[in-house]
Amino acid sequence: MDQQTLVYFVWAIPLLPLLAFFAIMLFARGRDRLSHTIAIGAMVISLVLAQIVFWNAVAQGGAHEVAQPAAAEGEHAAAEGEHGSAAFIHDSHDWLPQGAPENALKMGVLVDPLTAAMLFMVPIACLMIIFYSVGYSNFNKKPDAHDQPGFPPHKGREPMYSRFFAFLSLFAGAMLTLVVADNLLLLFIGWEIMGLCSYLLIGFWYARTYPDPNKITPRGAAVKAFMTTRVADVFMLLGIAFLYSATGTLSFTEIFTQQTTSQLAAVLFLGFPAAQVIYLLLFIGTIGKSAQFPLHTWLPDAMEGPTPVSAMIHAAAMVSAGVYMIIRMFPLLAGTAPHGELITFTPMIVIGTFTALFAATIAFTQRDVKKVLAYSTISQLGFMVSALGMGAWVAALFHLITHAFFKALLFMGSGSIIHGVEHGLHAAGHGAVAHSAHGPDDHAAAAAHVETEHAEEAHAGHGHDDADPQEPELDPQDMFNMGGLRKKMPVTFWTFLIGGLSLAGFPLFFAGFWSKDEILGHAYHYPQFQLVFWVLVFTAFLTAFYTMRQIALTFWGKPRTEAAEHAHESHWTMLLPLIILAVFAIIAGVVGIKSDVPVAGLIVYGPFAQPGSTFEHLVEPTIANVIELEKLPFVLSPMAIAIAGSLLGLFLGWLVYGRKPLAVGQPDPLEAPLGGLYVLFKNKYFIDEIYNFVFVQPVKRFAAWMGDVFDRKGIDGVLHGIAHGALRLSHAFRSFDTKVVNGGADGLAASIKSAGHWLRDIQTGRVQNYLLLALVSVVLLIALYITLFS
């Protein structure tokens, strides 16, 4: 295929879902079939184009090492050829002029092996999620008059069906934008639009309110997700600004050169190499996006969104984007260690390893089927971050991709479970109680006024209608309300089992095993990472344990509630994606098997293979021009330890929860033995409460003070003081005017007037009086004359 066509294809990959978003929003509102047809259609084409690009990349990747494919690509690519970049599609255009024409900031698309690998995974996962949403949103049912926009549908089709597909398309488009971006700014654009999508989708049921005021609402969770990630994003934006002002470019191919990276490592900022400072700022962005400690708190609450959204956030897009970004930017650190030596980044090792363990401890105490998966996501992302921090670039990327497949599978499986239980709930006659007599608008329970703190008094009893009237009393997501679903939902069970075993790292047959083993093997090889290795092994053990706990609680034993008893298998539109993803959860591991692994390597590659894995060979050239990755020989002991940990975890999980399934109302068997520790884990170390007390509340109080007191009383007080002073001054002038100026003038006038009055008295009109006056005057004048001149 000729290069120019491929360039168009790459542009079209993110554009199609983005256009689908606008098309649905503008032209398909309320037309459900058209909406999902547009969304799925755009995604299918996107997927096909991505596959074409991917296989072209694979084909050209082999030829790459022999000769740069630059010649075919015109001037852009020719320029990169000089830098030795592995980009084989690159097309960019001026976007922001900055003074002289040559300084313009460019925007464009880039496909190098790293992008190609992501282009394989992302569209598949996105398409599966969007397809699954058709069944999840009850397309097979008619809209029901009791279902209101802003509440989850209970009987019929999702009332905001089109909007859901529009948002999912935007989400996919943003993720694909991020993947094909040729520069950090476009990546950031995709990154932030995804943030918006997660906000819109987590809060999709924006009107939902729970009777329990302490339970976070979808809209609350949406704001929390957006704000928490935004904390991180402002640091990331600073990192981008720093990088841009230091290098004058944000293009990956221009930054990742020997010259630029060593320059960035040489410049010091506060005593650290600028490269590390920038990378740290960018990494903070990942801490937020990929929910690493201490900014992880938004992710479990993000479960308030519809389940396909959880899959989107947790697998295909959002959190993967965080790790993808630091993988993409990793060559920035190339200059921080002598060439050929292992490049590490300690903050990432510390945070990643800690998060992996920390989240795993929370996961095994959760009752909500989605929350367990949420914490397992955080934990697995910790694995990736830690791996990258230790310099295991390929392993981190590989785990990212396998995880995306099996975690999308698990989330959609849990969605299928919840769907089944909800149906069972209705079939069993629960939940239908509430909406028989009242429409949702008639309810005015005064229970949950969390949102309207200030207006509580004003509204109590009559204002907002609060609780979702259709909210069933029984939580359909609580695993303790399930049990025995194995027989009710066989397809869901088998696919979920595959996903679970992959997550648990069950040996040999599952993708998760191979990718996790890569990370553990790397940590084991370097003596300085011994502690990390053992922590991660312990985490892997916990992972296997809580996965088994989840599977046992959900599928094993007998149904513990009527809802579970009446649960039935989901619609085929939901099951088909599960099956497809289950296939990937198994086979995706094959490409990561190294050729020197005994037996498996021989089966996959045959006897005369080069060292390393297919995946390694594919992606490694991405950074080869600046970083030389060491190829580690196969060692049996870390793999053996990992297998032991995984099997032990699965076994113990089965022992506690599977062998003797829980009875109705029985507490978690671990609650008593772990005591206070269990309370700590179950309450997520009380971090939400601490943040609320330390950050959220003070900021709210300070903000209210700033507007109402500081501005209105402080600054305006000074202004009013000046105004009053001026007023008082003008009053003083006024009284000066009235008393002195006016008084003087008036006084003069009055005295003239009184003189006139007096003079009038002598104007008598009698001649003799005038003659007498004249005589007196003459006498006086003569007397005066004599006195003066004699």
């Binding site: 976007w95 922001l96 654009i189 309110t209 600073l238 200030h454 907002h464 903000a703």
Partner: protein, 516 residues
């Protein structure tokens, strides 16, 4: 006079003539008045688009201005009527020309003295165009003042409950700044004997002649610098001169708020760029750090204040101050770079960002005020606690509100982002710590925007509100008034090149003049 100069003159004076005509047509009835006002207001828009196309290839005078038109006006005072534009003013003229018809369209429901209302809006437009075009200080000052009077009456006569206080505060505060401005202009004229802006830009910083009124020339320069700065700082407004703004914006009628936030605030920032930086390079460099710190204070404190509001319109009003803080930060960076050649590229980036932010904020603030107006017209309340759940009742309105709010928040892909990115990138090397701290404001921007969305759209419907107010969804006229803004937000956000080419041209020229 060539045709382009004629076009420039027509843009400038056609709104004023239109205002008079609308008053006359208004005798026929309100319907005729509003439609004629709308049609007349499209004239400068069409001419501006023509000028936009003509601008690219047109020759510039030695000072970098295009389409310069000059006639003697007060020869005794050596003042001439000189107008001309560069890329910065062209962008601002385009913004003004776009917002005026939209403001008129959104005001169609006004029943009280509608012809006068429209005439004042149109008259205001001439004032704003004049400031952006003026190349003579006397002309600049006259148009500066012309803008003030119609706005005073718009707030005072058509405003809401507390309009008397708000309009008086707005008027007196701005006048206080104007007096200093007038005094400075007289000082400069006394020394240089010219009012020509390009000439003063060339001469004033190096002028070493005798002082004025017995003051040494350096003192005169410092006095005039500070008087200019205060006048423009009040208009922008720079913290802590901002408290007139929440009152004026909140009390003004919807169209008044749109124009006030959309364009009038930009006059202040424009004054910094057109007059302060070129006239006072040394003082600018010396005091840039103060300006940067005030920008920081404005960004953080007013974002907090916005977050603390429970009045929808007041929240949006505070967000204007918050956003203008980034304009000021960009200007401060340009000012600091006057003294340091190493910062030249940073100055260009930051100033580009500041001007783009002026444009982007003009779009998003106008849209936000229009949207507040839509809800206020229906609910007769702006209290966020009285609203809620409106997404269900007004779904299209909800979508538009989220879109505009995201543009306001600076979401990448929409207009605010390239602006903020450039300001931050440009300011980082110059004011590293200040820039880093200003990011906290960006965080708080998210907090107040989400608060507004949540309180207005999310949650269950407030049935009490629906009892006494009908809440029909946004109507076609309102959508048409908002649609151009939404399209432009997206167009600037996705491909800012079309706009930035012109702005960059103006900025490069400005910094060349200002840098000497």
């Amino acid at each position: 006079m060539d045709s382009n100069q004629l076009v420039l003159l027509l843009i400038l004076f056609s709104p004023l003539i239109a205002g008079v005509l609308v008053l006359l047509i208004g005798q026929l009835g309100d319907g005729a008045a509003k439609w004629s006002a709308l049609i007349f207001s499209l004239v400068p828009l069409a001419l501006t688009i023509y000028l936009w196309v003509a601008y690219q290839g047109a020759p510039a005078d030695p000072n970098g201005f295009k389409f310069v038109f000059s006639v003697p006006w007060l020869p005794q005072m050596s003042s001439s009527f000189t107008i001309g534009i560069d890329g910065i003013s062209l962008a601002m003229i385009l913004l003004t020309a776009i917002l005026t018809p939209l403001g008129i369209l959104i005001s169609f429901r006004i029943t009280d003295r509608l012809p006068l209302f429209m005439a004042l809006l149109l008259g205001l437009t001439t004032g704003m165009f004049g400031v952006f075009m003026a190349l003579d200080l006397v002309i600049f000052f006259i148009f500066w003042e012309i803008g003030l009077v119609p706005m005073y009456f718009l707030i005072n006569q058509w405003g809401s409950a507390n309009r008397q206080y708000a309009s008086l505060k707005f008027f007196i505060y701005t006048m206080a700044g104007s007096i200093g401005l007038l005094l400075s202009i007289q000082f400069i004229w006394s020394a240089l004997g010219t009012y020509s802006i390009p000439q003063i830009a060339g001469q004033w910083s190096t002028y070493a002649g005798p002082g004025v009124l017995g003051l040494p020339i350096e003192t005169v320069k410092n006095i005039t610098f500070w008087l200019f700065v205060i006048a423009f700082a009040i208009k922008v407004p720079v913290w802590p001169f901002h408290t007139w703004l929440p009152d004026a914006h909140t009390e003004a009628p919807t169209a008044g708020s749109m124009i006030l936030a959309g364009v009038l605030l930009k006059l202040g920032a424009f004054g910094f760029l057109r007059l302060v930086l070129p006239f006072f390079p040394q003082q600018s460099a010396q005091f840039a750090v103060i300006l940067a710190l005030l920008a920081l204070a404005g960004i953080i404190f007013t974002a907090l204040a916005a977050f603390g509001q429970n009045d929808f319109k007041r929240l949006v009003a505070y967000s204007s101050v918050n956003h203008m803080g980034f304009v000021v930060l960009g200007i401060a960076t340009a000012a600091a770079a006057r003294g340091n050649a190493a910062y030249q590229q940073s100055a260009i980036i930051a100033t580009n960002g500041a001007v783009l932010q002026m444009f982007a904020h003009g779009l998003s603030a106008a849209a936000m005020f229009a949207l507040v107006g839509v809800v206020y017209e229906r609910a007769h309340t702006r209290d966020l606690n009285q609203l809620g759940g409106l997404w269900k009742v007004m779904p299209i309105y909800g979508g538009i509100l989220v879109f505009s709010a995201m543009a306001n928040l600076g979401l990448p892909g929409l207009a605010g982002f390239p602006a903020e990115f450039q300001v931050v990138s440009g300011s980082w090397p110059v004011f590293t710590l200040t820039t880093a701290l200003s990011m906290m404001g960006l965080l708080l921007t998210g907090a107040y925007i989400l608060k507004a969305i949540q309180k207005v759209l999310h949650g269950p419907v407030n049935r009490e509100l629906l009892h006494h107010a009908e809440m029909p969804d946004i109507n076609r006229r309102e959508i048409i008034a908002l649609a151009p803004l939404l399209v432009l937000m997206l167009a600037v956000g996705v491909y800012p090149m079309w706009l930035m080419t012109v702005i960059n041209d103006g900025v490069v020229n400005l910094l060349r003049i200002a840098g000497g």
